[in-house]
C-alpha cells in the first residue's frame, strides 16, 4: 500500500530465516504429551505419596520449561 515495500523485501528473507528453525518443532512435545490422559490417569507409581496423576502432571511443567528454554537458546539471534 505505501512506499516502504521495496527496501523491506531484501531484509525479509534474512529475518525470516531467523524465525524458522527445525528446533521449533520440539515445541509440539510439551503441547501433546500433557493431553494424553492414558499416560498419567493412574494411582501408582506414587512419588512422595502423590498419585501418578498429580506428580506426573506437575512434572510436565518442567518438560514445558525445558523445551521452551532449549528452543529459545537454539534459535536465539547471535549478536
Amino acid at each position: 500500500m505505501s512506499e516502504p515495500g521495496t527496501e523491506a523485501a531484501s531484509t525479509a528473507s534474512t529475518s525470516r530465516a531467523k524465525d524458522h528453525s527445525p528446533w521449533n518443532w520440539l515445541l509440539f512435545v510439551p503441547i501433546v504429551v500433557p493431553l494424553v490422559t492414558p499416560l498419567f490417569n493412574a494411582d501408582s507409581p506414587r512419588l512422595f505419596n502423590f498419585p501418578l496423576f498429580y506428580w506426573l502432571q506437575l512434572a510436565f511443567i518442567a518438560l514445558g520449561v525445558g523445551t521452551t528454554t532449549l528452543v529459545y537458546q537454539m534459535t536465539k539471534k547471535r549478536r
Binding site: 531484509t11 524465525d19 510439551p30 503441547i31 490422559t37 490417569n41 502432571q57 511443567i61
Partner: protein, 556 residues
C-alpha cells in the same frame, strides 16, 4: 461474626492500603515523557523488561478467581478440576511463536489491541469490530469474577451485612480506589502492584503446602481423605482419578482453554507492553513457575477435604459456596495474622487482573469503536482520555453485575466468555500466520461458531443447582445423537465449526471473486524487533486514511 476475625481484617486492610498507595505512586514510576498517550497509559510505555513482564502477565493470567475457584473445583469434583495444570503447561509452547509475531507486527504498526491488527491485516472494520466486541463482552464478566474472589474472602472474615448494599459496601469501596488509581496511572499501577501481589501469594502458598500436609498427617492422608469422600458421594463424575467418561472433556477443556487464554485482550495487553521479542520468549519459559504454584494451590482443595472444612452457605437457600473452602482452610489452620496475609494476597490478587482487564476493554473501545466509528481524527491524547473514562465505566459495570445480579450470573458469563473469545482464533491467531482466509468468510465463521457455541451452552443442565440451561461447559455428546455418556468442551467444537465455515466460505468467495481488501502488513513486519528503524510511532494516520476509503465503514 467479624469481631472474631479482627486481626485478619486489620492485616487485610493495611496491606490493601499499602498497594493502593503504590497504585497512585505508579504514575511516576519509570516516568513517562508524556502520560497523555495511549501507549503510555494503556501499555505502560511499551517498555517493560523481563521481570516486570513476568510479574505483570503472571499476575494477569493467574487471577484471584483462579486461586479460589480451582481448589474449589477439586474440592467438589476431584481430578477433573486439575485440568488447570495441563492447560497452563501447554499454553506456553503454543504461544511461544505466535505472541512474538503479534508483538512484532504491533510494534511496527503501533497496534494496541488484537482488533487493531485484524483491521489492518484483513482490511475489514466489520471484522475488527466483531473482534473488539467479542473481547469486551468476554472480559466484562471476568472482571466481575474478580469481585467474587474478594467476596469469598470477606465472607470468611465475617464482613457481611443484612441488605445487599451493606454486604457489598467493602467491594464498592475497594473498586472505587482501584478505579481511581487505574485512571491515574494506567498499566503502570497493576505492573507495580503485581510485585506485591505475587510475592505475597508465593510466600503464602509455599508455607501452606509445606505446613498443612505436616499438620494433616502427610500427603498420603490427604489423598486418602479425598478418595474416601468421593467414594461416599453419589455423583458418578468425581474421584481422585479421571473415569472413562470425563477424559475427553479433560483434554478438550485443557486444550480449548489454552487456545483461548492469549486471545483475551488483557493477556495481550501484558504481552504488548513488553520491551522486545526476547522478553516474551524468555517469559514463556519463566511463566510456568505460576503453573506450579497453581497446581499446588489446586491441591489445597484436597487439604480442605482432609481438614473437614464445610463451605459457607451460598447466595440462595440450600446451596453451598465452594469458593469459600480455601479461605476457610486458612482461617481454621493458621494463626489469624497469617490468614490475614493470605486473604490480602487473594484480595490484592483480584485487583491486578481487574485493572489490566478494564484497561484492555477500554483500549478496545477507544481504538476499535470510538476512533473507528465516532471520531476518526482522534489524537493520541484524546485516545488516552477516552480510554481512562471507559476504564471507569467498565469497572462500574462490573460492580453493578455483582451487586444487582446473582454472582452465579457472572460465573455463567465467564463460562460463555471462554467459548466466545475462542471464536476470534481464526482471525487473530491464524491471521498472524496466513492471509489465506477471506475476510467475509472469517465473519461467517465467527457467526457460525458463536451460534453453535451458544446453542450448546444453552443445552447443558446443571444437576447440582437444578437449572436446565447454561449449567457448565461440558456438552453431553448424546445430544448430538451419539450413544455415549462422554462429554466434550463446547468451545473446541464451536471453534472447529468456525474454522470449517471460514475455510469453505473462503473457497466460495474466492470462486465468486468477491473483493478481499488489501493486507496492510508485510511478511517482514512479523519479525521486527526493538531496534527496528521502521516502526511507526502511534499516530500513524497517513496510511489509515488511504486504507479507509476502500470500504465504507458500516453503521454501528
Amino acid at each position: 461474626m467479624w469481631r472474631d476475625h479482627l486481626t485478619e481484617i486489620i492485616i487485610f486492610t493495611l496491606l490493601f492500603l499499602l498497594v493502593s498507595a503504590m497504585g497512585f505512586v505508579a504514575a511516576r514510576w519509570r516516568a513517562p515523557k508524556d502520560m497523555e498517550h495511549l501507549d503510555e497509559w494503556g501499555l505502560g510505555g511499551r517498555n517493560f523488561g523481563g521481570w516486570i513482564t513476568w510479574f505483570l502477565v503472571g499476575g494477569d493470567l493467574y487471577t484471584a478467581y483462579t486461586f479460589v475457584a480451582v481448589p474449589a473445583l477439586l474440592f467438589g469434583a476431584g481430578a477433573a478440576g486439575f485440568f488447570a495444570v495441563p492447560y497452563t503447561v501447554i499454553i506456553y509452547p503454543m504461544a511461544f511463536l505466535v505472541l512474538v509475531r503479534l508483538w512484532s507486527v504491533s510494534h511496527r504498526h503501533g497496534f494496541v489491541t488484537p482488533a487493531d491488527f485484524v483491521r489492518r491485516r484483513f482490511d475489514s472494520p466489520t471484522l475488527a469490530l466483531l473482534v473488539a466486541i467479542t473481547g469486551i463482552v468476554a472480559t466484562m464478566p471476568y472482571i466481575a469474577l474478580q469481585l467474587v474472589g474478594i467476596e469469598a474472602v470477606l465472607k470468611t472474615m465475617g464482613v457481611t451485612g443484612e441488605s445487599p448494599l451493606a454486604r457489598h459496601l467493602p467491594i464498592i469501596v475497594a473498586f472505587a480506589i482501584l478505579a481511581a488509581y487505574t485512571y491515574q496511572s494506567g498499566l503502570r499501577a497493576p505492573a507495580l502492584i503485581a510485585f506485591v501481589k505475587d510475592s505475597l501469594i508465593y510466600i503464602v502458598i509455599l508455607v501452606a503446602v509445606l505446613y498443612l500436609p505436616y499438620k494433616l498427617g502427610g500427603w498420603g492422608e490427604i489423598f486418602a481423605a479425598a478418595d474416601a469422600r468421593f467414594d461416599a458421594s453419589p455423583s458418578p463424575g468425581d474421584g481422585v482419578l479421571l473415569n472413562q467418561n470425563n477424559q475427553l472433556q479433560y483434554i478438550t477443556l485443557a486444550l480449548g482453554s489454552a487456545l483461548a487464554l492469549f486471545l483475551y485482550p488483557h493477556s495481550l495487553t501484558g504481552v504488548l507492553a513488553a520491551r522486545n521479542r526476547d522478553v516474551i520468549k524468555r517469559n514463556m519459559s519463566a511463566l510456568p513457575a505460576y503453573s506450579l504454584l497453581l497446581g499446588l494451590i489446586a491441591l489445597l482443595g484436597y487439604m480442605a477435604i482432609a481438614a473437614e472444612v464445610t463451605p459457607l452457605p451460598g447466595a440462595s437457600e440450600g446451596t453451598v459456596d465452594n469458593n469459600t473452602v480455601v479461605p476457610l482452610l486458612f482461617d481454621q489452620q493458621f494463626p489469624s495474622w497469617f490468614a490475614g496475609v493470605a486473604f490480602a494476597a487473594v484480595g490484592i490478587g483480584a485487583l491486578v487482573p481487574a485493572a489490566i482487564m478494564s484497561i484492555a476493554a477500554a483500549n478496545l473501545f477507544t481504538r476499535n469503536i470510538y476512533k473507528e466509528y465516532l471520531r476518526r481524527d482522534a489524537t493520541p491524547a484524546q485516545e488516552a482520555s477516552v480510554s481512562k473514562v471507559t476504564s471507569l465505566v467498565v469497572k462500574i459495570g462490573a460492580v453493578a453485575c455483582i451487586v444487582f445480579l446473582d454472582p452465579q450470573f457472572s460465573i455463567d458469563l465467564q463460562l460463555i466468555g471462554g467459548v466466545i473469545i475462542l471464536q476470534t482464533l481464526p482471525a487473530v491467531a491464524l491471521g498472524l500466520y496466513t492471509r489465506w482466509f477471506h475476510r467475509g468468510a472469517l465473519i461467517a465463521g465467527w457467526v457460525a461458531g458463536m451460534g453453535l457455541g451458544m446453542w450448546m451452552l444453552y443445552q447443558i443442565p446443571n444437576p447440582a443447582t437444578g437449572r436446565a440451561h447454561f449449567g457448565g461447559s461440558a456438552f453431553p455428546l448424546e445430544k448430538f445423537g451419539l450413544d455415549t455418556p462422554k462429554t466434550i468442551y463446547v468451545g473446541l467444537v464451536a471453534v472447529a465449526v468456525n474454522l470449517l465455515v471460514a475455510a469453505i466460505g473462503t473457497l466460495v468467495l474466492r470462486a465468486g471473486r468477491v473483493p478481499d481488501g488489501v493486507d496492510g502488513t508485510e511478511p517482514d513486519d512479523y519479525f521486527a524487533d526493538e531496534d527496528d528503524p521502521r516502526s511507526i510511532p502511534a499516530p500513524r494516520e497517513e496510511t489509515e486514511a488511504a486504507g479507509a476509503d476502500t470500504e465504507p465503514a458500516p453503521k454501528l
